[in-house]
Amino acid sequence: MSLMIFGTMIFLLLLGFPMMIPLIAGSLIGFVALFGGFGQLDTMVQQILGGIRPASLIAVPMFIFAADIMTRGQSANRLIDLVMAFVGHLKGGLAVSTATACTLFGAVSGSTQATVVAVGGPLRPRMLKAGYKDSFVLALIVNASDIAFLIPPSIGMIIYGVVSGTSISELFIAGIGPGLLILVMFSIYSYIYAHRHNVPTEPKSTWGERGEAVQRALWPLGFPVIIVGGIYGGIFSPTEAAAACVLYALILEMIMFREMTVKQLYATAKSTGLITAVVFILVGAGAAFSYVISFAQIPQEVLGAIGIDQMGQYGILFTISIAFFVGCMFVDPIVVILILVPIFAPVVNSAGLDPVLVGTIITLQVAIGSATPPFGCDIFTAIAVFKRPYAEVIRGTPPFIVMLLSVAVALIFFPQIALFLRDLAFAK
């Protein structure tokens, strides 16, 4: 049965069906096979509705809404100016600024796609003018935007947390370490690249200009203060932090800056609602799928077939990493999380692995896979945004993928990269 379920799902996915259909089809086959007919399909509906109900999922639309209000204004440019004022004059400074701005922007918005546009949009022309090759620029933007996945708020982490029953607060804090490590590696690579290709440096900013840039960027930087500070300090749950971000963004954009009208607020709410619906129907269908495959003991069957019991902890972590990496090369990250997390859940529990570590590894793999050919979805975002052909967008990616994979391996052998801050914050 598992072969039929997964075969049908992959087939439908690759043909280009809306992604809810493979999930629904997979659960349908499961329900019909398990219960000998269509008699239990109202249970499937019940599971779909139950899947979208958990209170912690409310953080998803709230974070999307807050970021959507905030990023309609000037926040991306302010963050870019801030970073440029401090590191722009170094060798490779523009590239380092791009990576850093992606990271900072990731702390405001959890979306890699928004990061590609908001940070890559203004910085790509400047980098090209400065003499960077387009293949390097595109690869840097696509891969650095993936840091946004690891830096809280992260939609992928919220969904992993809900599906696996892991603390979202702990996941958020654990994502910061690997995110910053990737930023450091990309910065070093940019520095070496700029040296080897002799890219000229930018003029150095004065301290007066720096002060002004800090002042202008202070408002968007309130987001990470609320999210990380609020969660780290034990004040907010992720959903409360998300609501506080919405409140903060509304006060800024509607009352203080008066940049957003009521009409724009309405349009923003509608666009947030649309994105939410498209994700939540997947989450609902994923819950039905997860219900039926665990009922049919399919995870045990699949895991038994690959002999996961003899692998030991490192073997299990590598298997999980590879599965998520390969999955995201083809399919949207959220769908991969919804399908694979329930499959690996039994072995994560029985091997006594830390679910927060597993979640961080999965989030990292999901981010890497999304930027990896053939079908990583961020590649297609870049194609659409920058109007460059596929071959050009992927040409510069290999060094970045190598760097990202080395962080992934490091994370498996040195889990403290992720868990250090978590342990500090939650006194473990």
Binding site: M19, M62, F65, R124, A267, G273, L274, P333
Partner: protein, 216 residues
């Protein structure tokens, strides 16, 4: 070419990427929506589209208000709102099911279109019809069983503990949303059969927004 496409085209061409913003691209102007249906059906379709949009936007605004009020209440006044969680559950169900048919209408459901886009138009068209028909069938099947589920819940007469309203009031959106989504995909199949172009939804012709996948 209608509605969405006109907007997108006027925005995209000759405008350097750096001055475009992604969020503006996400906005759909409902006053520009032109139904693909003739006569009275078209009027109904436009009305439904408007209602979906209003439900989506007000749903999100109410949810934000509700969640923010709860946080402010808890930290400023030391008191949580007792119905916040239930109201949010009701709203997220409403948003999801109003949104799936709105997304179907505007061709915004996430799909992996890389292989699809690489095919010849002569293959893409029948494939699009197949996708629409199968998706519509799945939606109608779920409509049927969600009606069954909702009526079972209604017959039990259970109330939500805090809000004291019947449970079925908040889940009734599921069959409605599945049905309207099914209708949209069925119409997309018809549209592709009678029109020479390839349509991703009743109002979106392919080719103008090739992001293929939308990420959140």
């Amino acid at each position: 070419m209608k509605a969405d496409d006109d907007l997108r085209q006027s925005r995209d061409q000759d405008v350097p990427a750096e001055v475009q913003t992604t969020v503006a691209d996400d906005d759909i102007d409902d006053s520009q929506y032109v139904s693909g249906l003739p006569g009275i059906l078209g009027v109904v379709d436009v009305a439904v589209a408007r209602i979906e949009a209003v439900l989506l936007a007000t749903g999100v605004l109410l949810m934000a208000l509700n969640t923010m009020a709860n946080v402010v209440g808890r930290y400023a006044l030391g008191q949580s709102i007792f119905f916040t969680e239930e109201l949010n559950q009701a709203l997220i169900i409403l948003i999801t099911f109003a949104g799936i048919s709105y997304a179907a209408r505007h061709g915004r459901h996430i799909r992996m279109s890389a292989i699809f886009d690489a095919l010849k138009p002569t293959l893409r068209k029948p494939l699009m019809i197949l996708i629409s028909v199968v998706t519509a069938a799945a939606m109608f099947l779920l409509t049927w069983y969600s009606i069954e589920y909702v009526s079972t819940q209604a017959s039990r007469g259970r109330l939500l503990p805090a809000l004291q309203i019947p449970v079925w009031w908040i889940i009734i959106w599921a069959p409605v949303g599945f049905f309207l989504t099914g209708v949209q995909y069925a119409l997309t199949a018809v549209k592709n059969l009678i029109d020479k172009d390839i349509w991703l939804s009743t109002s979106t012709m392919e080719g103008y927004d090739n992001t293929g996948e939308e990420e959140v």
